[in-house]
Amino acid sequence: MPTSEQFRALFEPRGVVVAGASSHPGKFGFVSLHNLLAAGYAGKVFATNLNGEEILGVQTVPSILDLPEGEVDLAFVCTPAATNAQLLRDCAARGIRAAFLTSAGYGEAGEEGKRAETELVALAEELGILVAGPNGQGVVSTPVDLCAQIVAPNPPPGRIGVASQSGNFVSSFMNLGVQTGIGFSRGVSAGNAAMVNVADYLEFYGDDDATAVGLAYVEGLTDGRAFLERLRRVAERKPVVLLKGGATSGGQRAAASHTGSLATDDRVFDGACRQAGVTRAATVEEAFEAAATFATQPLPKGNRVVVLTTAGGWGVVTADALARTSLELVELPEDLLAQIDTKLPPRWSRNNPVDLAGGETRDTIPEVMEMVASHPDVDAVIYLGLGIQSNQAKLMRNGRFYPDHGLERIVEYHERQDRRFAEAAAEISDRTGKPILTATELATADPDNPGPAAVRASGRLCYPSSNRAVTALDHMWRYARYRARRDLA
């Protein structure tokens, strides 16, 4: 297990050296230097290259030993495996405490590679250097604008910490972060995880103040019980979301008992996650959205949900989705009904989902949302229908009658209203300490619609469908209940 000082060298280095920098824009040694510089990394950037060329404005030096002492904490290594042992010794001599190895030719490359990897780890341990990878894609750390990776994107800053056995899943999660505006604190591709594995990174995230939720992708686990026991201790501190590839072996078991045949791999893994308080997601989007929800919404204190909608059908479908979860579509208490009656014409649903049925005036949505979220019998709100007005406004704005016939004024009014509603959802959620999830297909169908755009600007996720909001909220409630039942404050 690496020390916290070594993790600091990896995630918050004072300076970074790209070892094996290249002037060829197709090579890892160029791409990583490019990404590091382009992301505006706060610390000093150095690079080594046998020819001592200038690359991207950085004067390279032939050897790590040519670097100043004590100014570099992290080496980003793009050199061939055969030269890495000497490289690590040079790093140690210059006080470098962490190295990210993109180099292939280790554990993934047969018996000889495995031996090389074992030797590499032994050497790194002897030298006191954390080796991340090898055969990984890189490391990202937004608090210091570090984007040391051979792939895109550079994610927005935020509070999700990612660790993955597959580098491409780091990219997948971060692409969703770019799309939704929900950002990351740290991200790392564990590569072969020769010295540092996914559980190690998650344990670091557990102690890391910049990280509010851990998100991980794993495939093969050599010791599932020990892995989940470690994640259980992290989940005691903050939520952990797990996506697992290769969930089922499908192998039929010779079992004398019914229990044996019912205890499939996937069910056992599912149960082990639940027992550890780990949120298991079935898909990439579900994993990202669960993590994004943990990172941006308060934990619910109960499972009583009110659906607030401007149209009936959406509410019905959302109620159906809720019925398949641990959440409860709460019966509206009398005093809340009476309160809402004062704001709406008699045709409103008088039921949960609260269907405003087009009866709203200028201030109805924020006012009813406030009443619902403030009620002690309500633990969470799902809000549907944001962006409808702006959607019509867009049609008007792009039509041939604009801006005459009063269109300019009404378009501005519609757009202002949707922004207001999105801001109200975030503000009321902050004030009441209850999750308010806004869902509309416009989040992806027309992300520039002022409604979803304002949700993003508020730092929250605009869910692309109500069932995805329900799934995310269900994950939150299960975690909250896990904590409450175990007296975890």
Binding site: G224, R225, T259, L262, R267, V268, R274, Q275, R485
Partner: protein, 217 residues
């Protein structure tokens, strides 16, 4: 997995009961007359089954006689069952137990996972559990809170509340079953698997009317 062998129903129940799993009151009888005598003591109606170390799947082999209302019926059933015994069954006896009635059946058990080791299971549907597939698992050992979570995670929650005039399932008793299974697995390393199937909910209380424990040979 190492070679394993199954215990008789009575041995299985005795082993699990020692760790706190509640089982129905029942008697072993060597012959039809003794079975009838045991049935008188328990009170009618009763169930009579053929019991033996080598007998794993009684229902499939027709070795269970349900709802026997008087001594004559018990005698007749006992004679038939003894005649069905095969040499592979080993030494056999008759197991006489009260007829437990309930319209809900659960299943609970233990199973060894190659990756995670011993697990505790709870499911809906008793002998139909495989078809229904509403099953939750945890790794041994479990806490009472884990057991509570398992009950809450069954998809068929309606079955756990009041049902067809029967009271809601006694959650504490169900927690005790799961904790007992976990304790048995923790304490006895020979256990490879265990089935409480069906676990009939009678007046809200889960009662294991059959048990099968598999141990390393």
């Amino acid at each position: 997995m190492p070679d394993s062998t199954t215990l008789s129903e009575t041995e299985s129940k005795r082993l699990l009961a020692a760790h706190g799993v509640p089982v129905a009151d029942e008697r072993l009888a060597p012959d039809a007359d003794a079975a009838a005598q045991a049935a008188e003591e328990i009170g009618f109606p009763v169930v009579v089954k053929l019991n033996g170390d080598g007998i794993a799947h009684k229902t499939e082999r027709g070795l269970v006689r349900l709802g026997l209302a008087d001594a004559a019926a018990v005698r007749a059933a006992s004679t038939e069952l003894l005649a069905k015994a095969t040499p592979e069954d080993g030494e056999v006896q008759l197991l006489v137990a009260p007829m437990v009635r309930g319209s809900r059946e659960l299943i609970a058990g233990l199973a060894e996972d190659p990756q995670f080791g011993m697990t505790v299971m709870l499911g809906v549907g008793g002998v139909l559990a495989e078809a229904i597939g509403d099953v939750v698992l945890r790794l041994v050992p479990i806490t009472a809170t884990d057991a509570e979570d398992m009950i809450d995670e069954l998809a068929t929650q309606r079955l756990l509340g009041e049902f067809r005039g029967e009271p809601a399932v006694d959650r504490e008793a169900l927690v005790a079953v799961l904790l007992g299974l976990s304790a048995a697995a923790e304490a006895d390393g020979r256990i490879v698997s265990a089935d409480l199937n069906p676990l009939i909910v009678a007046d809200g209380r889960p009662v294991a009317v059959d048990a099968l424990v598999e141990v390393t040979a």
